[in-house]
């Protein structure tokens, strides 16, 4: 029994090691960036970290037994959750060595924030950070959006039977193609096409607003990486405000909205199926919730005179609301302005937007529009059943790539996940409450920040900072991890560890 368990751990270690090696290999990109920019100490840090990560990952692979390396569902989930944790620690090494993060925990926090496309940051003196480090921040966000496991499956895993189980563990269960490896490649294909297109457009925009071509290219590339992944990181401390440009804001809002849609929708459009946009439950749910929430927040902001004109409402109200709803976290106002200037109704609207989030199987967080749509439809179905004659058999249907009958199992699953997200939000509010008096946080700010974490959004009311107590930093980190992997993998990992501990 014990030997079987050790073999099991070694098999899972193989996949975890593979992903760690892959992440370490990717450090070559920021190392090259730093070398080109003559940031020699940073380049050395990246080579050091890559060597360390590769040694750890290859060591885990070396320990794996020879022969079949199939994974059960439990093992697939445990592998994914573990890979995210070990990957986070390896990726945090160059951050920590740079001196821009006050502790290794802070460095891990920012890596997890990138991986989960949250966008909250504890980095110090961002305006003087090396281009290589910025490249790493945005690369991690971009990878996190598509998924590390998706990347590993695309380029490193060929025909391994455990691939799909790891893929599902990463919070993606859509198969846009019959084969999971082809699905993973389709996701990367779509992402790379948008990255190239977005970089060209945003670089041109940046040049037109006064940036030098070299800087414009880097900022264009990074902001597309961050926007498409609904990440929220920006290369300068002011975020999108830094650019002072309506055009820049329009381009970014388009890209992060597109990025927040389901990959299967992108694939359908790619294959000429334009009708899917108008039939897809998730798109319809997003349109409905965004329209209602934008209307509520705009009305409140205009009524209170916070943003009295159409242009100011668009740039400061609409932009931030859509950024929250797509869980991007780009802000066109300063963090404290939410708490100081936005009225209660507008704050409630943006908080709801952050909690709902965007599409499942996308780069976005939150409990996802499709689940809201499914719960809404199941309530409609229940009401119809109550009103119909007893012998009548009613079946509600929904469209997500294909027509599907809404059964109780699907509705219950959607409701369970929503409840888990809400429970996490409440736990975060309570945790913040414990420190509120010490730090002078008010309740609206706490509710806002907790919703931002729960939905992997990244907008802040000014609470997130390096001054946070370590307990809260760890809680934030776990919340981001749970939210991005949609609980299941992390719960399975916790259960697996608990089971192992009981047996020991």
């Amino acid at each position: 029994m014990r030997r079987a368990r050790i073999r099991e751990l070694r098999v899972m270690g193989y996949y975890v090691g593979l992903i760690v090696v892959m992440l370490s290999a990717l450090m070559v990109i920021p190392a090259i960036t730093s070398s080109i920019q003559r940031e020699w100490p940073v380049a050395v840090d990246f080579f050091l970290s890559a060597g360390l990560g590769a040694t750890v990952g290859l060591g885990l692979m070396f320990l794996a037994p020879e022969g079949a390396r199939d994974l059960t569902w439990t093992q697939g989930m445990v592998t994914t959750a573990s890979a995210w944790l070990l990957g986070m620690m390896v990726c945090a090494v160059p951050y920590y060595l740079s001196g821009h993060w006050l502790s290794f925990l802070d460095a891990c926090f920012d890596v997890m924030s990138g991986f989960t496309t949250t966008g909250l940051a504890l980095v110090q003196d961002l305006d003087h950070i090396a281009d290589g480090l910025n490249m790493w921040r945005f690369l991690l966000t971009w990878l996190g959006g598509q998924g590390m496991v998706v990347l590993a499956i695309t380029f490193f895993v060929r025909g391994l039977p455990g691939a799909f189980k790891m893929y599902v563990g990463e919070g993606k269960d859509e198969r846009v193609m019959p084969n999971v490896i082809h699905t993973a490649r389709a996701i990367w294909f779509v992402s790379v096409v948008y990255l190239i297109l977005g970089t060209v457009i945003l670089t041109s925009t940046s040049i037109s607003i006064g940036q030098a071509p070299g800087r414009a290219f880097l900022h264009g590339l990074w902001m597309v990486m961050s926007g498409w992944s609904t990440g929220g990181f920006a290369p300068m401390s002011q975020g999108v405000v830094y650019y002072h440009s309506l055009l820049f804001e329009i381009v970014t809002v388009v890209f992060f909205t597109i990025g927040s849609f389901n990959f299967s929708l992108h694939w359908a459009l790619w294959n000429g199926n334009k009708k899917e946009v108008f039939r897809n439950l998730e798109v319809l749910a997003f349109m409905l919730t965004s329209t209602v929430l934008v209307a509520i927040s705009s009305w409140d902001l205009a009524r209170a005179g916070v943003y009295p004109t159409v242009v100011t409402l668009f740039r400061r109200g609409f932009y931030n609301l859509i950024s929250a709803h797509t869980t991007t976290g780009f802000g066109t106002i300063y963090a404290r302005q939410f708490a100081l200037e936005w009225g209660p109704l507008a704050l409630v609207a943006i908080t709801i937007a952050m909690l709902i989030g965007a599409s499942a199987s996308s780069t976005a967080g939150g409990f996802k529009g499709v689940r809201v749509g499914l719960v809404f439809k199941s309530i409609v179905q229940d009401v119809k059943r109550l009103l119909a004659p007893e012998q009548a058999r009613l079946a509600e249907r929904f469209h997500m790539g294909r027509e599907t009958t809404l059964d109780d199992r699907i509705a219950r699953s959607a409701m369970s996940i929503i409840l888990l997200y809400i429970a996490m939000w409440l736990v975060l509010i309570l945790l913040h409450g414990g420190y509120a008096a010490r730090f002078g946080w008010d309740l609206p700010s706490i509710i806002f920040e907790s919703a931002s974490l729960t939905g992997n959004v990244g907008l802040s009311a000014g609470i997130t900072s390096a001054a946070l107590p370590s307990v809260l930093k760890v809680a934030y980190l776990v919340a981001m991890w749970l939210g991005r992997l949609e609980f299941l993998s992390v719960f399975v990992l916790a259960g697996y560890l608990l089971k192992g501990w009981r047996k020991a």
Partner: protein, 165 residues
């Protein structure tokens, strides 16, 4: 002498009441401006900060972002004044510290509701300079050591695969 003193105080108070913005807004940090935006809105302020990132000239005026360590905000200034700035803060460079006098807006109608300062005067108070970071020999050695261990691990892994085939 006493009358002279009283007259001086009265003149001071008159000026203070006539131009409350200038006097009240002196000495604000950039974070203070964000925190007390409603109170300072529309007043003439004098602020200091390091010019960071890019100078984005747009016609006769342009943007520079300044950071005083508490926050960073945008300054909309005449292009000719922006040209005085030689260094902007970035990796390995400490930007020029500039002193800006201008009107603070909580919601600048000219710039789509942005919180910013429209500068009347901008001067370089302290010039910046390049501060290149130096290589640490210990880290170079560790990088080589890990490169070696990783290469060794690859060789061992491949060898085991060949043996298994």
């Amino acid at each position: 002498m006493r009358r002279y003193g009283i007259a001086l105080v009265l003149v001071f108070l008159t000026v203070a009441l006539a131009a409350p913005g200038v006097l009240h807004a002196q000495g604000y940090s950039l974070n203070d401006l964000i925190e007390r935006a409603a109170e300072v809105d529309g007043q003439v302020v004098t602020i200091r900060g390091e010019a960071v990132g890019d100078i984005m000239v747009r016609g006769e005026r342009g943007w520079v972002n300044i950071n005083d360590g508490t926050a960073a905000i945008g300054i909309w200034a005449p292009a000719e004044q922006l040209r005085q700035i030689r260094h902007t803060g970035r990796y390995g460079v400490r930007g020029d510290t500039v002193e800006v006098t201008g009107t603070f807006f909580r919601m600048d109608p000219m710039h789509g509701g942005e919180l910013d300062v429209q500068a009347d005067a901008l001067v370089v108070a302290t010039p910046g300079a390049a501060h290149p970071a130096s290589l640490k020999t210990g880290r170079v050695v560790w990088a080589l050591v890990f490169a070696l261990t990783a290469t060794l691990a690859v060789i061992l892994l491949r060898r085991r695969r060949w043996e298994a085939m």
